[in-house]
Symmetry: C2
């Protein structure tokens, strides 16, 4: 495998969470044989939710095929799910790919492509229950594999996801070499990274903040799922 | 503090490792009151070592002052250290900043600014011993604080570094809230993230690869340190 090229396409959209794909990108950029393309429905540039813009993007329609497609997540996923061009192109590229993948709530976009029916998938904890609308089986795992579909949990799970994929494609030695070079021996200063780990008052505070915007997002996801019904 | 603005400047350069600053950026973008600027010596755009370009950068000289300056790392740090404009501007901004920070081997650039004399600092493990050339005390910690200087270790340490800074500036609750939203409960599929943790054959393989380029980089760092001597 190491002598062959492995083409990875990140399917980007406006208002995404940049670490969802920059984490995996850093890992894959050190993978022997990897060729990485950043693409979006229209090409050009996208601005992410934290303010960083990514430009010189390919147009998804201009990419003939790839070995792996990866859809990151972010608040903008609800708009991306409702964009027929984005969903159509991701669906087309997924059909020919060896691995169909996502990070964070990017799995909802895979759901909107009709790719997760009866499949187990990961998602950001705050959005995870919405997977059911697409016939997917929500899984609490940080990296979840179901056949050729590999999905990561929220944001930072993308790094663990990418190392898992490198191990699968090139081997465990390559993955460990990349882990060492990226000095990935995490030592979070707090232990609050999951709802079951966070102190109750932190979870309550985050939840109260999410409650301001989640009803509208939840309705948008439901509308996309409804429109898919035959 | 939460009602005040806190201006963070990332000082970028060509051939940097993008995750060194995109990890912290994701954390800081959720910090109440944070205003983040991406800047470089010339403004415009920089291409990172993994291929992603960042554009619309500010010119460091155009930024009057900031609360925190952060220098990420990467292979390009040796060129950045030898660029008088980059070093001069980082030195100027550091003088008025509440926190002077780096991730990965970005601490070598702080050293080249003369900011680390007698100070403990972190660095990517493969470059750590070079800190001594600038009178700094190399520290194996993942996040190291010495007065107002806060430095992170290699690449992924930037996330732990940023959460540490948020706790310092806004408080532990805010840091934990961000950790929860970014689902930062890391679960690496391997345990090879430090030389003392990695299997011997993985370390040997990574070291052999580094040995191809490190002698030239080491010489470049020495040359910068020599030129600083009075």
């Amino acid at each position: 495998m190491t002598d062959q090229s492995f083409h990875i396409v990140f399917a980007l959209f406006a208002n995404l969470t940049q670490l969802d794909f920059t984490g995996p990108h850093q890992v894959f950029s050190r993978m022997p044989g990897a060729k990485i393309s950043l693409a979006s429905a229209t090409g050009g540039s996208v601005k992410t939710e934290g303010g960083i813009a990514f430009s010189s993007l390919h147009k998804l329609a201009d990419i003939e095929a790839c070995d792996m497609i990866c859809v990151p997540g972010g608040y903008g996923v609800t708009e991306a799910m409702a964009d027929p061009e984005f969903i159509g192109q991701v669906t087309r590229l997924a059909k020919g790919a060896r691995f169909v993948t996502s990070v964070c709530n990017g799995s909802l976009a895979l759901g909107a492509c009709g790719l997760l029916k009866g499949r187990r998938a990961a998602c950001h904890w705050a959005w995870r229950d919405m997977l059911g609308a697409f016939g997917a089986i929500a899984d609490e795992g940080r990296v979840v594999r179901d056949g050729h579909i590999i999905t990561g949990g929220g944001v930072t799970a993308g790094i663990d996801f990418a190392l898992t994929v490198v191990a699968e494609v090139v081997g465990a030695d390559a993955a460990q070499g990349i882990q060492l070079v990226l000095e990935y021996a995490p030592a979070p200063p707090f232990n609050a990274g999951r709802p079951d780990l966070a102190p109750a008052h932190i979870l309550a505070q985050v939840q109260a903040n999410l409650d301001k915007s989640m009803p509208a997002r939840r309705a948008a996801v439901r509308a996309v799922a409804e429109a898919m019904k035959p």
